[in-house]
């Protein structure tokens, strides 16, 4: 059993740019023009699905993530969306746990990131505390804990949480989970939303008092302030096109960091970028253009605008800010008709040869001070062989050029899992004795 018995040893946590693979779990056979008559969320008609193709779509996501773990990514990330055709991941800890087990048994030193169980959406916050803790144990102390508020359509329509309560629930649930992870004694919790007589979760995270907390968001000042106040990591995503909105959001983050007395450590910031690599720029466009365009039209493009902010999700001042604009208009609002050229020009997606892709990523990582990079290499109808080609080319020819970007500044990444040598050795020992039996 080659691989199974490999002696794993966590790599030294030198401060280098951490590059992780993120994947959504789309149904890969969405009909052409779906977005013209349907929503991709909440009411997305399941009649478009062929069950065998659903199985294939789900399994391919797992296989590709494992391929990424083997190919040398620092972390593997998934996230949560319910009642959606573009990310069929109602509980991301399921998929994360399968990857974590496989990675452990193969001795791969890879972080497991869950960008979010939505804390504003959940009605069972202790389940999240338990599942994240279990993942941290399974992965040998390699979990990154994402704590998103949750998208409005998911929290307020799918889970039917009253929109004005979303953020109140988020605050209570985060406080409860963090306390449950490090409590030494069972404790009662008399919250506004949750009441428990004896909080005593099993297991607890190996990483104490908590795995690193990362918070994805759209970059509203309130969220950024909360992240910096608590010394978490802000995760921004490329959906709006960093060429359009990056400057405003990242400047706001670093300005706020300075105002709040935080240092300019680039590892305070994570960014998720869609990337498609091929041998040449021309081949990349030939191979990926139609997949990308179709995916963003039928996925994010088919979420009704009103479902992004159900009445009550944002306070009056925030809605006024959105309506007045003033800032740059991102791509999210016009995904339904987005062309491949627009996706590339706005940098929603970076597409090209390894050199082209590395140049572009290096430039914005430096410009915006990004220490943790997540790349999304599968989109919509992309088949598994093409995705795995993308993974291989990226890890072999792009990733090595990204790692040293911050070497000259000498920062420490306090927000990367520390890993547990002891837990790692225990797994290796169990594997070895199992193989002998």
């Amino acid at each position: 059993m080659v691989g199974w018995c490999k002696t794993p040893s966590p790599a030294p946590k030198e401060a280098s740019v951490k590059v992780s693979m993120f994947e959504q779990v789309p149904y890969r056979y969405m009909p052409d023009g779906f977005e013209n008559h349907n929503s991709s969320v909440v009411t997305a008609p399941y009649q478009v699905v062929d069950p065998a193709r659903m199985t294939e779509s789900l399994f391919s996501a797992y296989a590709e993530l494992l391929h990424g773990a083997r190919a040398g990514f620092d972390g593997i990330f998934v996230t949560e969306h319910s009642q959606s055709s573009y990310d069929i991941s109602p509980n991301p800890t399921l998929l994360a746990s399968a990857v974590a087990c496989a990675a452990r048994s193969e001795g791969l030193d890879v972080a497991i990131g869950v960008l979010g169980r939505s804390l504003g959406k959940t009605r069972e916050p202790l389940k999240i505390a338990e599942e994240y803790a279990l993942l941290d144990c399974l992965s040998g102390g390699r979990l990154i804990a994402g704590f998103p508020v949750g998208l409005s359509y998911d929290a307020n329509l799918n889970a039917s949480i009253p929109a004005v309560e979303t953020r109140e629930r988020y605050r209570e649930h985060r406080e409860l989970i963090l306390r449950a992870w490090s409590a030494t004694e069972p404790f009662p919790w008399n919250g506004r939303f949750e009441k428990y007589g004896q909080v005593n979760v099993w297991p607890r995270p190996i990483q104490q008092p908590s795995p690193p907390v990362w918070i994805p968001g759209t970059g509203s000042p309130g969220t950024l302030r909360d992240i910096l106040q608590n010394d978490y990591v802000f995760v921004y995503l490329s959906w709006d096109g960093p060429k359009l909105t990056g400057r405003e959001v990242f400047d706001r983050y670093w300005d706020l960091a300075e105002e709040m007395g935080r240092d300019r450590n680039p590892y305070r910031l994570a960014f998720l970028q869609v990337v498609a690599v091929s041998e040449t720029d021309e081949r990349a466009e030939q191979e990926y253009a139609h997949h990308l365009q179709a995916h963003y039209r039928s996925g994010l493009g088919a979420i009704p605008g009103s479902a992004f902010a159900v009445a009550g999700y944002a306070e009056p001042a925030a809605i006024e800010g959105m309506l007045r604009g003033g800032g740059p208009e991102g791509m999210l609002g016009r995904m339904k008709t987005a062309t491949f050229k627009e996706l590339v020009d706005s940098q929603v997606a970076i597409v090209g040869s390894p050199a082209t892709v590395a140049d572009q990523i290096q430039a914005f990582v430096r410009e915006f001070r990004i220490g943790n990079l997540l790349v999304m290499l599968q989109n919509g109808s992309m088949p598994r062989d093409l995705t795995e080609k993308n993974v291989s080319l990226f890890t072999e020819q792009v990733l090595p050029r990204l790692r040293p970007i911050w070497d000259d500044e000498g920062w420490t990444n306090h927000w990367w899992p520390r890993g547990s040598q002891a837990a790692t050795e225990v797994v290796a020992g169990a594997a070895a004795s199992g193989a002998e039996a």
């Binding site: 307020n156 009253p162 004005v164 009103s306 479902a307 944002a314 809605i319």
Partner: protein, 271 residues
């Protein structure tokens, strides 16, 4: 009907152990009428002017919906607390057995206030209230609130393109005021739907038998939000109530059928 506005003043009640500054619009002179507004907040419409000709109208603004005080909604955690807040408000205003009128969301508030505190009102008028649920007559409240704005008039009016319907939903022309109005209306709807989401059924159907005062139920036959089947549901549960179903009329009865609505209400309140 007259549309000339009667002078409207505002009272602020410090209630709920000092945690709420509840704003109440007050107009007219005469026996008290307490009016509870629908989902998007209080709009002073012509029906309130008519009521104010022979009554003193008290129209509270649902917590959180008063401009400048959005966080007030956090002080009211449950629908039961909302009813207690309004019972306190009635005492703070010094009202002795007001007639209670409520529309849509406000109708649910009015009906449950009368069921929870049977001695509080003198009469009860329910204009197409939410608050009950039948599986064979679903109320598309979530679809309306979270749906495209252009679909809204179709839920509210029998004739969405009528001048009256358009005037009801008209936004200020001034761009700054328009932005403020849209933002306020969305937040207001968030504050009211807190107690109506996703299904506005707090068990009112099991309490309506407690309503002990003359009750008028008014419904539009073409109501596309709360189907007219609910008129009978309310009527059957409230002993001695009178149900008026108006033809060619949608959810907002006083916009689609202003004269008829006022005629039945006026007669009932005078009776």
């Amino acid at each position: 009907m007259t549309t000339s506005a009667i002078a409207v003043r505002e009272e602020t009640l410090e209630i709920w152990d000092g945690r709420l500054k509840l704003r109440v619009k007050v107009a007219g002179d005469g026996p008290p009428v307490l009016f509870f507004h629908p989902l998007p907040g209080l709009a002073w419409h012509p029906l309130l002017d008519l009521l104010a000709q022979e009554h003193t109208v008290y129209a509270p603004e649902h917590p959180g919906t008063s401009p400048g005080d959005p966080k007030a909604i956090e002080q009211v955690q449950t629908f039961t607390e909302l009813l207690l807040v309004y019972e306190e408000a009635v005492r703070a205003l010094g009202l002795d057995r007001p007639a209670v009128v409520g529309q849509s969301f406000g109708g649910m508030v009015a009906a449950d206030l009368a069921a929870t505190f049977p001695a509080l009102p003198s009469r009860l008028v329910l204009l197409a209230p939410i608050g009950l649920w039948r599986d064979d007559a679903p109320i598309p409240l979530m679809e309306m609130v979270a749906g495209p704005p252009e679909d809204l008039p179709g839920y509210l009016f029998a004739h969405p393109d009528s001048a009256a319907a358009r005037a009801t939903l008209a936004l200020p022309e001034d761009p700054d005021l328009m932005v403020k109005a849209i933002a306020q209306s969305a937040w207001n709807t968030g504050c009211t739907t807190k107690f109506a989401w996703p299904i506005a059924d707090h068990g009112l159907g099991r309490r309506l038998h407690r309503v002990a005062v003359p009750t008028l139920v008014v419904w539009g036959r073409e109501d596309a939000l709360v189907p007219v089947a609910y008129a009978r549901e309310f009527g059957d549960r409230i002993a001695g109530s009178r149900v008026e179903v108006l033809d060619d009329c949608g959810h907002v009865v006083q916009v689609d059928q202003p004269e008829l609505t006022w005629a039945v209400m006026n007669e009932f309140l005078a009776g």
